[in-house]
Symmetry: C2
């Protein structure tokens, strides 16, 4: 069901049985416009629709701004599918936070004045003033939402987010490769972008200045939420959430924090989530290797792997008594309704 | 402390002692640009800043987008002052919902794609398609927030909102005059605007079509939230909330609902909240007649009277054990810090 990949205090996982609230920080970085850097969209024109379409899917079991669910160019569906199934079965409350969206979804969103991120290969991601202001509002949201919950779960959707996360980690002195939604992780391309971005740094930047120069608005908003929370925080994702956790710890996050991701990220040979993460890491197994659907089985073959909090969503379903085989069946039924019927 | 102005089931008031969540639906209608129709702003250029400045005050005890708190042209301060004191003392969770703001506040806001309302004297307030979509998203927010609360309290801030409310009430066949933030309620001017607006109606409009033609985005969003709520709803305001309650009841609101307002609205001779309201009405007394501050005493002399949920905020403070005289002292201290020190 799940495995502790990096040891530490993971007692907060039990809070997923009581009153969790899931926050989805979704946004865009123009870094995604670099050809080949992401497959989070069927083609380059569609990449910007992936985050809003993901959260529409979470709300309605279908997308509104595009007529089909987000997918890779070769048709592997968005991990929002798995998260949708978990939210549907567990009924846990969730909200979308606009962390720099180009296109707004047809759902309610929490707005914290997050700017869209620039292409970090070419220029600074965001203006420092915007970053400061947005961080304050994100902290306020973290604080407000945490008053209503026992634990906050923070997920993400931002195409090319692993590249910006890699740049932030490098800037923080965390030596790492980063995970990717592609089995042939374009390590060399990402490395070049990260090099180019981090070459703009002086080395004396504050954490928020690092985000402003080489990060993205999702890292900004997610770390702000964590810093504002008065309750434990589950960082729902892979290497991106490792970057968020590092930033949050440097900006005063003192609460309990755990990264929860999928088995597929934890087993990714091109990345190493356990060594990158500054906090405990838990990996949930959605058992997609046993799926009869090739689009889902692909996850276990190194495609997509994680996103939109799919790992944490799987764990929440398990913690609330749903058996892994039943969860897989429900995911497959949703896959039939949402992907195969389009 | 408080008085039942219109009888009925008011048991839900007790829920204010447990887990209430306060939602502030704030927006603009260009109806406010009609000279003389509102005093919710020190001058005509400042009116559009009143709703965002009100919610900044609730968050920070000061405003960010204008250097002083909203006030009438002759310096009577915004009722957000009273609400701020209550939120500060009771610590109850609250969120701002953007119900058609021209200028966005420097606070987190929930966005439901609400349009700014047009001047109903000249044209339809909103496009029917926008109204339908916004109503759906507002219902979703009502549903989501109600899962986290025992009771939802819905307040408002929208200059000229009593005029649009009057037009909606007339369109619904509710014969009434409406309250106002002025002691010399400009009844004749309002009546003319309401006449002009409602003359565009055919008489066969649905409730949402009525809002689209002669209403405003705050009535739209507040009634959507009520219809989505799975818990009782406190409609925090005066005649505007009577319009919201009528609309909500016609659109499927079946839960417990109570209007909670101030004594000053309840005693307004130019309006009659008890006869206008389709649900029980409770009036809280902030005892501002006993204040040493003329700006606060003015409320008891017919100025401002209500707004930004001040009546319900007062009641919440009382329900949570704060004595009226202590509450008044705290309001006066905030008045000194926020109004007198600017």
């Amino acid at each position: 069901m799940y495995r502790i990949v990096k040891n530490g205090d993971v007692k907060a996982l039990n809070l997923l049985k009581s009153r969790p609230i899931f926050l989805f920080t979704v946004g865009n970085t123009l870094t995604a416009s670099i050809p080949g850097i992401t497959v989070a969209g069927a083609n380059s024109d569609l990449i910007k629709f992936t985050p809003p379409a993901d959260v529409e899917l979470l709300h309605y079991g279908k997308c509104e701004i595009i007529p089909f669910p987000p997918a890779t160019p070769d048709g592997k569906p968005t991990p929002a599918l798995i998260t949708y199934t978990s939210l549907r079965l567990t009924n846990i409350p969730f909200f979308v936070v606009d962390a720099g969206l180009i296109v707004k979804p047809y759902t309610p969103v929490l707005n914290v004045r997050a700017p869209v991120g620039e292409n970090i290969a070419e220029r600074d991601a965001m203006n420092v003033g915007d970053v400061d202001r947005c961080f304050k509002l994100a902290k306020l949201i973290g604080s407000k939402i945490s008053e209503l919950a026992d634990v906050i779960v923070v997920g993400e959707s931002i195409p090319a987010g692993t590249t910006t996360a890699g740049a932030v980690l490098k800037a923080l002195g965390v030596d790492c490769k980063v995970s990717s939604s592609m089995p042939e992780n374009p390590v060399e391309l990402k490395r070049k972008v990260i090099e180019k971005a981090t070459s703009r740094l002086n080395g004396d930047e504050t954490p928020l200045e690092i985000i402003a120069k080489v990060g993205d608005p999702v890292i900004l908003v997610a770390s702000g939420i964590a810093c504002g929370s008065k309750k434990p925080v589950i960082f729902a994702g892979g290497t991106q959430m490792a970057a968020v956790a590092h930033i949050a710890l440097r900006l005063g996050f003192s609460g309990n924090g755990i990264i929860v991701t999928t088995k597929y990220v934890a087993e990714d040979g091109t990345a190493d989530i356990a060594s990158i993460s500054p906090i405990p890491v838990v990996a949930a197994d959605p058992m997609l290797d046993r799926s009869s659907k090739s689009g889902l089985r692909a996850y276990s073959e190194g495609f997509v792997k994680e996103g939109v909090g799919a790992g944490a969503a799987t764990l929440i379903a398990y913690m609330r008594g749903i058996k892994p085989e039943d969860f897989l069946n429900e995911v497959e039924e949703d896959y039939e309704k949402i992907v195969e019927c389009v």
